[in-house]
Amino acid sequence: MASWLKMLKDLTVRSHVKEVRTPPPMPSDEDWVKPLSYLRIKELLSASTDIVFREFILKGKQDIQCSLAVVDGLIDKQIIDQFILKPLMVDFAGELEKMDLTQKTAPDLILSRLAPANEIKKIDKLGDALDGILSGDAVLFLGEESALLIGARGWVNRGVAEPQTESSVRGPREGLSETLRINTSLIRRKIKHPSLRIKSLKVGELTRTDIVVTYIESLASEDVLNELYDRLSRIKIDGVLESGYLEELIEDMPYSPFPQVTYTERPDVVAANLLEGKIAILVDGTPIALIVPVVFAEFMQVSEDYFERAMIVILVRFVRFAGVFLALLAPSIYIAVTNFHHEMLPTDLALSIAAGRENVPVPALLEALIMVFALEILQEAGLRLPRPMGQTIGIVGALIIGDAAVKANLVSPIMVIIVGLTAVATYAMPSYDVAIAIRLVRVPLMILAGSLGFFGIGVGLYALLIHLLCLRSFGTPYLSPIAPLRIRALLQDTFVRAPWWALKRRPHLIETKEPKTGGNS
């Protein structure tokens, strides 16, 4: 009985005593540049269960204590077994002594004769080993202070699929994926020229995210490139999980609603931009490539513009710019005309609008604001729901906003038409970011139109124009080639797209090293 009581007491006491454990050590900043040390690596990583240290001995002239460090799940086990462990432990096990294997000769011997892996190199920094292991490579430690980094990355990935947000009727169907190396290979397949540069960097103190900066050396402006590297090097952040983190950290004016960095899911778009002298940034773990510098007119362009015939593209671009105009100004013009400038309307239309608004209890501005707000809620709700439910929301929204609200005299029929037109026009813009910016700017313009009519719209538009003129993307004025005026670029590839046979010289939208050639010359 006494022993039972004692046991119970022990258990009770133990459950109340906080277990004091030493936290696993964190790599300090100095660790990354320190010389290699197997013990330190093991100290830093052995607390994680997914990290495997496969220790073995190579028996040569000297016995060498080896250890292969990998992250389970990030490596291709076949590479590890067939090209590292098997040759060392089975195929050449008996010949190591004859080969004069010692602690000093081991790295070179393995590199040149024993391990038939295609990516293999010597490393001497602790940081290189840590990065290698944690990025999915294998590190073979040969004793305490020397090691080989062996490319053995291999994990489950989505593969190359059709891009979801940038589908096209004509053109390639492949999209970028979450795996960096697949993305670089997709770009390399399109530009098979030695001038294509693919430079790797790491960003994020904790995530150590791999990013790739890619450009064509003979085209990309050195100033832009240096500025980009400068901005990337200044980033101090714990983690980069998506390209959006970088976008906000490197853009010129983060408080602007307008994007100053463009992005794409399509490798053909990346390649086309590189051919214009731009620079792409790929982030591991995201199927998006950021592209800099960018000008506003480029947000109105899609890849198909270059696959279709020029005349069709001219018409389609006109429709898109008309879409921007309508999305930005349709509700404001309606409010201004109905509140202040009736004289602009023909009598029949003015009477029809007045009749429609007769029983509506709120002023036109409030009516428009309610409708636009309801539309925004519907859009946001529809965006996140599973597809079948999204359609339901669309139908319910259309019925409630369209029919029921008009019958209940909450809004006038013409307002439904205006808001519907505005919504459709918003989707005519190829860039989601610009569409959001336009949606944001639309509301203050409506308020200005409701308070000051066309003068208010004028104030809003001129303020917007001044803001856009102040914007730059890596030094390139945002409204180029309209201001500063670049006639050739304006006529070749802005509001219109000249036929390929007329594109003798590269459109001078941004600063490039080689602006005079390009196109089909």
């Binding site: 202040f340 104030v459 001129y462 124009l465 001044i466 003129l469 500063p484």
Partner: protein
């Protein structure tokens, strides 16, 4: 240091020379020369050209300096400071009166119930935004806005063609040439505002030698373009309203806009055009705001700090508010004719003359 390109210089020159002269010019010249008033416009603007060329020749010798700084070198520190003070005062007075005119124009034409202060305040916010953004952004702003203003003027004139009364054109020169001279003088007083702007903007022009010839060409182009455009503005008002009605109408161009009908669908589009012409007002007032700042920098050596912009905006607002009333539009004309014209012409002639004489002396 910011710079504007040669093309931007041409557009800025045209925008500043045009300003909002298209509003009062028809009334001004028909008061002097009746139905022949349109003859005065182009010569009036071209009369400004020699002064512009003199300033450019000084810029060639003193690259990177504005005319106040050049005056400092040529006629001495204290004289230059005195000239700088007049430059600042004239620009402030003209700019703030122009602001008041903008408020008055909107109030009398399209928005009668809104107080003047709202127009003046809104315009001033835009002007400060633009000027704070710098001369490069200003140059780019004019590159976009000037063609729109130009096009809207051309459209107004084109849509007015059906209302032409061709007999208003005749008889030509019935009152002789003498009245034309007064008309030319008045138009030149408008153009002289551009000369004062040119005196300040010099330091932002590209200094390369190869651009010197292009500056001259671009100024000629700008003045001819503005002269021809304003000639058409006057001619069309005379043809539609006749000389007597043109003399009477304060905002003849807006009345033209009100009369426009496009296929019985859209009418009375003057409020729409006012929105475009607002751009011309912003350019002109911003130009004057810049001039005051350049003057303050040259005379007092102030730094590029936001507080100076805000203080100056306050001064513009205050003077603009006080300038309301029926007489201020006339005050604007008086400033142009009796202050701008003699000040700008005497200043440029004196500095250029002394510089030329000194150079001759050195060579001789």
């Amino acid at each position: 240091m910011e710079r504007i390109s040669v093309h931007q210089f041409m557009i800025v020159s045209a925008s500043m020379a045009l300003g909002i002269t298209f509003f009062p010019i028809a009334q001004t010249v028909t008061k002097e020369a009746g139905r022949d008033g349109w003859w005065c416009v182009l010569p009036g603007f071209l009369a400004v050209l020699p002064f512009a060329l003199m300033i450019l020749s000084l810029f060639k010798r003193f690259p990177g300096k504005n005319l106040i700084e050049i005056s400092d070198n040529i006629i001495g520190k204290w004289s230059a400071k005195g000239i700088g003070l007049v430059y600042i005062s004239v620009s402030t007075l003209f700019g703030s009166h122009l602001l008041a005119l903008v408020g008055d124009t909107f109030k009398r034409t399209v928005m009668p119930l809104i107080p003047d202060m709202v127009f003046i305040g809104s315009m001033l916010i835009l002007v400060v935004m633009l000027v704070w953004a710098g001369i490069e952004v200003y140059g780019r702003f004019t590159e976009i806005v000037f063609p729109i203003v130009f096009l809207s003027l051309i459209l107004t004139m084109l849509f007015s063609i059906p209302r032409f009364e061709w007999d208003q054109f005749y008889p030509v020169l019935a009152n002789g040439i003498k009245p034309l001279a007064f008309g030319v003088l008045k138009v030149t007083s408008y153009g002289m505002q551009y000369i004062l702007f040119l005196a300040g903007v010099l330091s932002f022009l590209p200094r390369e030698q190869e651009n010197q010839k292009r500056f001259k060409t671009e100024i000629q182009r700008a003045l001819i373009l503005v002269g021809m455009l304003n000639t058409l503005v006057v001619l069309i008002q005379i043809m539609v309203f006749g000389p007597d009605e043109t003399k009477r109408l304060n905002f003849g161009l807006l009345t033209l806009g009100r009369m426009i009908e496009i296929g019985e669908t859209i009418s009375g589009i003057e409020s729409l055009f006012m929105m475009f012409w607002m751009g011309a007002m912003i350019i002109r007032i911003s130009g004057l705001f810049f001039m005051v700042l350049w003057g303050l920098r040259s005379v007092f050596g102030i730094k590029d700090e936001l507080k100076w912009y805000l203080i100056l905006a306050g001064v513009f607002y205050l003077v603009g508010s006080l300038a309301s009333g029926p007489k201020f539009a006339r005050t604007l004309d008086l400033i142009a004719l009796y202050v701008n014209l003699p000040f700008a012409s005497l200043w440029v002639l004196t500095v250029w003359g002394i510089a030329y004489w000194k150079q001759k002396g050195v060579q001789g």
